[in-house]
Symmetry: C2
Subunit: 361 residues, 2 copies
């Protein structure tokens, strides 16, 4: 068991920052004496804890993988693995100048590979759920109770749309289940690979010992880590500011360029996560620290919309791909077209929601 | 030439109404002495003018119909006919208690039939334009100049979507051009029918003489007409208040119930027009009268969104109908599905815009 480090080297509020007023809910987090936590303690402590989590996930996975009875535990283990791999990778990236840079770059990249490989199975399952739920919403009757005066006289009254939706669902289920099965095998292969064992060895070292540079290790955490965390935050702010403006609703949905702005949004999502992990290194529990709670809350809310954006964009692409399946019935293709547009509509809605909630002042 | 009646029996501003400040742009409308216009003068004058317009439209149509060279003039004539038929029908409906009710109901219904028959050709042409423009927006490349970082790696790269859009456009063009041609013939048949000649005879009488009841004719316009115009306005307000709340985006798009709330919105559109025509009877030029200009402006803006709502709902239905054409290619059906969803998205956008601009206070 790795001892829990206290990482509460919070920034002092600047004069321009109004206090948030209400104390954080729940029991107050244990706080060490202010300004005495060193950068070495804070960063190494965070890496220690996340490495221990990753190794715990790995153990859990080894104990539960390969059996249908324990599939849920194995999935939870993979979630733990991904969660800590992302955090270690993020911390190594953000605080790279305080570490052996070449080593940090290498391990960070390997952990990104790992979390990417491990994310796919879950992503395909979630994508299928999302698309089937959307098809259900699009094709289920509305229920008679909400007083609409009828009016659908010009609307489809044949059985075709429903049949198309059912066939589209079956097609998506077939395609995404196959993709999911392949992703599962790829994840298992990855976890058995020499490449994974090499990175697991690095993480095992991290769990007890993180190579923070001597000249940084003894400086106050706030002074040595704060500017680097702030740099990531600034990159996020700039990425948000340079997002392409103006939605044109479903423009270009039928072209190869529909998703040309998606990548800029995915990058914002990545930077929002990096910023959040940077806060976690600075302050053990940024959600209950007066100085970091507002930003942390905004990052969580924004992250929710950015996840929704990513999920909807990928679901739209999956619907489009299914629509290109040879020899499908026109009604199936029609339903997939509606579904595709529906998910691009979700993409736009997520962007609009992000813009509304993101603090630009 | 029918003499132009002065219908400026405007309401006096109530104490709670702030004056709008700036005078109306353009030359001031000629105003008669306040409160001296009788209900008979105002209502009969309005009916006289609109009836003269209708007869002018009919003459223009007779002179220009049947020749390709003068098709634009014939179309303009039909627009004039529809415009005045709607207004006469609306005035007869709103001010029915001041007229021979049975006569007013009959002529109003016949004019509704006429404007309905005459509207269809234009509606099909506009629907085709709308759908082809939407297909163009959905399928045209975005242009390289706006700095998107690429990112469409998961998006369709085959030629299929574009080909589907082109085929969908050709299919819609075929179907809606056929419908338009049939509507054109139906309009010509209607204008040559005994039914039309009967209503035209009634309108010819209206052009010089409107049967306002004796006991109402001599009362001040404001007292006799105002409450009836206000009643229509109140019906509009109630219809807006009872509109189904809460958009669920594209819910039920693939079912027969998608459009079940459309009729309630179309009814609001109808009442907004009736209210506007009622104002025209009360005040010759409601847009330049201080007391009626705010409501008149709101009705025009709302009417724009309600027209957009109606057009998008009918375009969506046309895309859905085209999607049910037997033996179309899956790519065509797919593009029609996207188009259908796009137009239902427009329906939702129009509803949202209406809610934003409608003065609820």
């Amino acid at each position: 068991m790795v001892p829990r480090h206290d990482l509460t080297a919070g920034r002092r509020p600047e004069p321009s920052e109004a206090p948030t007023g209400a104390p954080p809910a729940g029991p107050p987090a244990p706080r060490g004496p202010q300004d005495t936590t060193t950068a070495g303690e804070a960063l190494a402590g965070y890496l220690n804890r996340q490495a221990a989590e990753l190794l715990r996930g790995l153990r859990l996975h080894d104990e539960n993988a390969g059996s249908a009875e324990t599939a849920a535990q194995a999935a939870e283990a993979v979630r733990l693995l991904r969660r800590s791999a992302r955090r270690i990778s993020g911390a190594l990236h953000t605080f790279r100048p305080l570490l052996d840079s070449a080593w940090a770059d290498r391990v960070s990249a390997e952990l990104r590979w790992l979390s990417g490989v491990l994310a796919r199975e879950h992503a395909y399952a979630a994508r299928l759920d999302r698309l089937l739920a959307a098809l259900h919403r699009l094709s289920s009757p509305a229920g008679g109770g909400d007083g609409g005066p009828g009016g659908g006289n010009n609307e489809p009254r044949t059985g075709r749309p429903g049949a198309g939706a059912a066939k589209a669902g079956a097609l998506l289920e077939r395609q995404l289940t196959l993709a999911r099965t392949r992703a599962h095998s790829a994840a298992l292969r990855a976890l058995g690979s020499g490449r994974f064992h090499a990175v697991a060895d690095e993480v095992a070292v991290l769990a007890s010992d993180a190579p923070v540079q001597d000249r940084a290790a003894d400086r106050p955490a706030e002074l040595a880590l704060g500017p680097l965390a702030e740099l990531t935050h600034r990159r996020l702010v700039e990425a948000v500011e340079s997002l392409p403006h103006g939605s044109q609703a479903l423009a270009h949905t039928l072209t190869a360029e529909e998703g040309r702005h998606d990548a800029a949004w995915h990058q914002v999502r990545h930077l929002a996560r990096l910023t959040r992990y940077g806060l976690e290194v600075l302050v053990g529990d940024p959600g209950s620290d007066d100085t970091t709670a507002p930003l942390h809350g905004a990052l969580l809310l924004a992250g929710h919309q950015l996840d929704r954006h990513r999920d909807a964009a990928e679901a739209a692409a999956a619907a489009a791909a299914a629509g290109r399946t040879p020899r499908i019935a026109p009604a199936t293709a029609y339903a997939l077209g509606v579904l595709h547009a529906d998910q691009r509509h979700e993409v736009e809605a997520a962007r609009a929601a992000f813009v509304r909630l993101w603090p630009t002042a």
